[in-house]
């Protein structure tokens, strides 16, 4: 079987600020991420993990270097193109869930599918399916503050995957969860990886890294180790 690289990253550099205040967040990152795998990005705080993830997710453009997605270079020259890539290919999951407090579970997840010309019925169907997949269909009318941390993260994952992206980028997704719920969330990711998704997880937690197929270790804006 031919192993396909969904992401190929070439010499990406990113600097924040100017002159004296310049912070070199990425100093030339090169790496490959295979399709249908789980990859962990580890490293000390400030080593550039989130910056790399944000660039791969089309939230910002790199200063130098490039990356390909599914074999094609990603055009980061305009906000419009970045947004389209982000909307169609990427699902984000973040540490503190980023749910909207005054929308219920259904509305939070449905947010992903709005303004894309998808019919209400279709949205309803897909949201319900996704919640079912994650085992939280009974909470469809609940508000975020009525849910546990683990349940909130499932809602956030549902929101990320309801638009069926191939790539799921998670920044410390278990950072706000206890050991048991962390393990449950990792099981969900594994299930997603087994059904055609590629998952990149930024994490501090060695247990999380252990559950992944690949580990990229970063230090001071560079990849120092990539183990399979």
């Amino acid at each position: 079987m031919i192993v396909m690289n969904i992401l190929e990253i070439k010499d990406i550099k990113k600097t924040f600020g100017k002159k004296d205040a310049a912070v070199h967040a990425l100093r030339g990152v090169t790496a490959e991420i295979q399709e249908n795998t789980m990859t962990a990005i580890m490293g000390k705080s400030g080593s550039g993990k989130s910056t790399l993830l944000n660039i791969l997710g089309g939230l910002m453009a790199a200063d130098e270097g490039s990356f390909t997605y599914a074999g094609k270079p990603v055009d980061t020259s305009s906000n419009r193109k970045l947004r389209k890539y982000r909307r169609d290919q990427v699902g984000f999951v973040v540490q503190y869930f980023a749910l909207i407090d005054d929308l219920n579970v259904f509305e939070n997840v449905a947010l992903s599918l709005r303004y894309q010309g998808i019919s209400r019925r279709e949205i309803k169907k897909r949201v319900k399916e996704t919640l079912k997949l994650l085992g939280i269909e009974s909470k469809i009318k609940a508000y975020p503050n009525e849910l546990s941390g683990g349940q909130q993260q499932r809602v956030a994952i549902a929101r990320a995957i309801v638009k069926k992206p191939k790539l799921i980028l998670a920044d410390e997704p278990t950072g706000a969860l206890d050991v048991k719920t962390s393990a449950e969330v990792m099981d969900i990711f594994r299930q997603l990886a087994d059904t055609g998704n590629t998952i990149v997880i930024v994490t501090h937690d060695p247990k999380v890294a252990e559950a992944c197929d690949d580990v990229i270790v970063m230090e001071d804006g560079k990849v120092v180790e990539q183990v399979s």
Partner: protein, 343 residues
């Protein structure tokens, strides 16, 4: 639950509800205050000045004056002394708020060459008049005056018992040496017209005009009309400020949502249109609820009345003004970086 409602949409809804109630009551009170003030001054403005002529030799003086003067925005009343009726002749030039008309029309601008024998009478007076071929006539000193309009407001006022005749006709009754009142749009037009009256008078004529008492310092500051106007200004400014604040807070509350939508790759157009739609929906509902609460309040407490145009003004001052106030914080928050919000 209540706290949750008050935080997001509820805050916007209740703010606009309360602002609508307050503004409607303020407008209604202003209306009543203005009406009462004018009523108490016999429908002269605070700036009106009495005057008369001594040794006026030119009987055609007023026609000459009205055809030659370039002044505008003034009204001159000729007071017809009578114990039964409050009768005045009226002549005016330019855009000057004349008498509130309930029905029919008012006299034409300027001064006619001939007496027209026309009248505008109060509501109460008109009821006592007999119909003649569908027209009503006010009779005074054996002379009939055709009623062309009825003066009056919704609520009873002194106006209801007043009689206005065309200026030329009243000169037939009083003669040129009569008691007059000069009124106008503002202090400037009044004092300009006062000068013109003097200017066009024959040399031997003396014009006695009540002094234009120019108030200075504290007296100027506390002049009743100015004070109330300032007060209204302060009230409206505070409404503007609260609208701006409420709208600003509401957008700040949606900051996270804007960031999340951008994270999900929603187009800016989608984000903005959703915000505008939500804003209009919530604030218009608040406004409507406010109007519903206001009506029993205004009529129950007999705060004069509230008119459809007032409701339009309130809508403009709250919802539409808020929409303008929305623009700046919206643009600011649309530029927020996605990862800033995620922290």
């Amino acid at each position: 639950m209540i706290v949750k409602v008050l935080k997001g949409r509820g805050m916007l809804f209740f703010s606009f509800l309360v602002m609508t109630i307050c503004l409607s009551c303020v407008l209604s009170t202003i209306r009543r205050y203005n009406a009462n003030e004018r009523n108490s001054r016999n429908f002269y403005s605070e700036l009106a000045r009495n005057f008369n002529f001594m040794n006026m030799t030119d009987e055609g003086y007023w026609n000459r004056f009205f055809s030659e003067t370039t002044d505008s925005g003034f009204v001159i009343y000729n007071i017809v002394p009578d114990s039964d009726y409050d009768i005045r002749g009226v002549a005016y030039k330019g855009d000057v708020k004349t008498i509130p008309i309930a029905e029919g029309s008012f006299f034409e601008e300027g001064l006619s060459e001939e007496s027209r024998h026309t009248a505008v009478v109060g509501k109460e007076i008109v009821q006592a008049l007999e119909d003649k071929n569908g027209e009503k006539y006010f009779t005074y000193d054996d002379q009939e005056y055709k009623v062309i309009g009825v003066a009056g407001m919704k609520k009873p006022s002194r106006l209801d018992k007043m009689v206005f005749l065309d200026f030329k006709s009243t000169l037939d009754i009083t003669g040129i040496e009569s008691e007059y009142v000069l009124d106008g749009k503002n202090a400037e037009t009044i004092s300009e017209t006062a000068n013109s009256i003097e200017y066009y008078a024959p040399e031997e004529t003396v014009v006695h005009m009540a002094l234009d008492d120019v108030k200075t310092g504290v007296a100027w500051l506390f002049e009743k009309e100015r004070l109330t106007r300032t007060l209204y200004g302060v009230i409206f400014v505070s409404f503007f400020i609260s609208t701006i604040m409420v709208v600003f807070l509401w957008i700040e509350k949606r900051r996270k949502r804007i960031g999340i939508c951008r994270l999900l790759g929603t187009e800016n157009r989608g984000i903005v249109s959703e915000i505008l739609r939500d804003y209009l929906k919530i604030t218009t509902l608040g406004y409507l609820a406010g109007i519903v609460c206001t009506l029993p309040l205004v009529y129950g407490l007999k705060l004069w009345d509230i008119q459809v145009s007032d409701m339009g003004v309130v809508y403009m001052l709250t919802v539409i003004f808020g929409l303008l106030a929305l623009v700046v914080p919206l643009i600011k928050n649309m530029h927020v970086q996605v990862f800033e919000i995620m922290r």
